[in-house]
Symmetry: C2
Subunit: 243 residues, 2 copies
DNA sequence: CGTAGGTTTGACTGATCTCAAGTTTGGTGG
DNA sequence: CCACCAAACTTGAGATCAGTCAAACCTACG
């Protein structure tokens, strides 16, 4: 289905097509954006908080996260990302990074000059609209995370995070939502849900004991989606996946 | 300084001017947007989660908040808003509301048809850019809130919320950041910081006992900004106020 | 096959919540 | 202008969810 041509950007273009109508010229406009492709290992920092930014970064393969730190050195992961995601669209109009962007697996990614991206947005309103919608969904997910971290108990928080990851992954054409490998460590899950590694471990064990999920290393199988959705208080409406 | 003409939208236009360059035609384009002005009392619900939306709402006077609920009925406030703020710009490209928008004081506000706003954005790139930047700052604030709620202890959380409110208010030309009246109840502060009313009350008392703030009813005076910023772990960079 | 990173388990601690009751405040109608 | 009422705020005591500290166990990779 995807992967017609469009080269390295195919996952990105497929994603934008899901966000809004693109004609051939729009697709060409994206394919022809200047870019530099790089690869990095897990842990590689792509953007650092405070930095002046002149490129946007599109993830082509692998997984990444965005995070912020408190003065005391506690880390909050604010989002996870997968192939096709644009990692820092905010830099289109905000010159200074307010958080970190980091790989959580081996990955490849493309740097696109902000200038070219802005030109594309001005010249091709369809591209602008798709990207803008992407940034609005990004914000909607942050709101859900505020709710998740602020109001839900720890088991629900983790379950919610797993549901979101499963659904987004599947929507991005990366495989079944019932059975998949988690790219993140329990420490990263802890930093994303505002809890400790130890408690993440215990809650994952409880989910297993309850029979909602099965686990083998990082492989997660969601045995009972109905029950899982219930436990997670998960309603995918906030992901705004097109009807 | 504001309030040149521009009528009801003056606060909104002033805000957009801070977000990006607008020429006279841009300002006229905004002033001439069709709109319906209404007033409401504290508690009035402007937008309800799940609703299909065809208007965006600009706050002209008073205060509002946006919130989401868990299935169990716990409420998370995800942002506070003041005169000049656009309350639900996400509806520009997302048809269905993923959260509630509600007045927290008596207020007046203007409904602008999405269609007209989209046309303005397409026809006048400066307007589009200012609004897009606004939505990106909105998202940056959500990220900070995820960090705040996820990683900071309760006293720091409240102090951070107070700092943010003081600075945004002052940047919007609504008065000094040192001395101001809070429009929100302690229950609303609790819902915004993910804690209970009771604990909010105790932490506010501690801040007073420490001598960082003074309080008289809802009036807050920040006695020592240096100490307050320290306690709050507050760095305003995430607000992306222009240099 | 050694080592570092990741995961698991146990015992104890503590920040924050819950429950309960009382006080103050602000708005409304008489 | 005062009396009343609901909402908002305050205080105390006990309960609990999740954190901290400590240690062992995997397991993937060099």
């Amino acid at each position: 289905m995807p992967d017609n041509d469009a080269g390295a950007f195919s996952a990105f273009i497929e994603k934008l097509k899901r966000l809004g109508p693109l004609d051939e010229a729009d697709v060409a406009g994206i394919s022809n954006l200047p870019s530099r492709i790089e690869m990095g290992r897990s842990g590689h920092l792509l953007v650092k908080e405070g930095q002046r930014v002149e490129f946007c970064c599109v993830l082509l393969r692998g997984y990444a996260c965005r995070s912020k730190m408190t003065r005391e050195g506690r880390r909050q992961i604010v989002s996870f990302h997968m192939a096709g995601d644009i990692l820092d669209l905010q830099h289109l109009f905000l010159a200074q990074a307010d958080h970190n962007v980091q790989l959580i697996t081996e990955a490849s990614y493309a740097w696109i000059p902000i200038k070219s991206l802005r030109a594309a947005v001005r010249n091709r309103p369809n591209i602008g609209e798709a990207l803008w919608r992407d940034s609005l969904i990004d914000a909607s997910i942050f709101r859900e995370w505020v709710l998740n971290v602020g109001q839900r108990d720890s088991k629900t928080r983790i379950a919610h995070m797993l549901c979101e990851f499963a659904i987004r992954r599947s929507a991005a054409g990366l495989g079944s939502p019932d059975h998949f490998e988690l790219p993140m460590t329990q420490e990263q899950i802890a930093d994303a849900t505002g809890m400790t590694t130890i408690h993440v471990n215990r809650m994952l064990s409880e989910l297993r004991e309850q029979g909602v999920i099965r686990r083998d290393k990082r492989i997660i199988e969601i045995v009972n989606w109905n029950q899982m959705r219930q436990i997670a208080d998960f309603d995918p409406a906030y992901l705004h996946q097109a009807a």
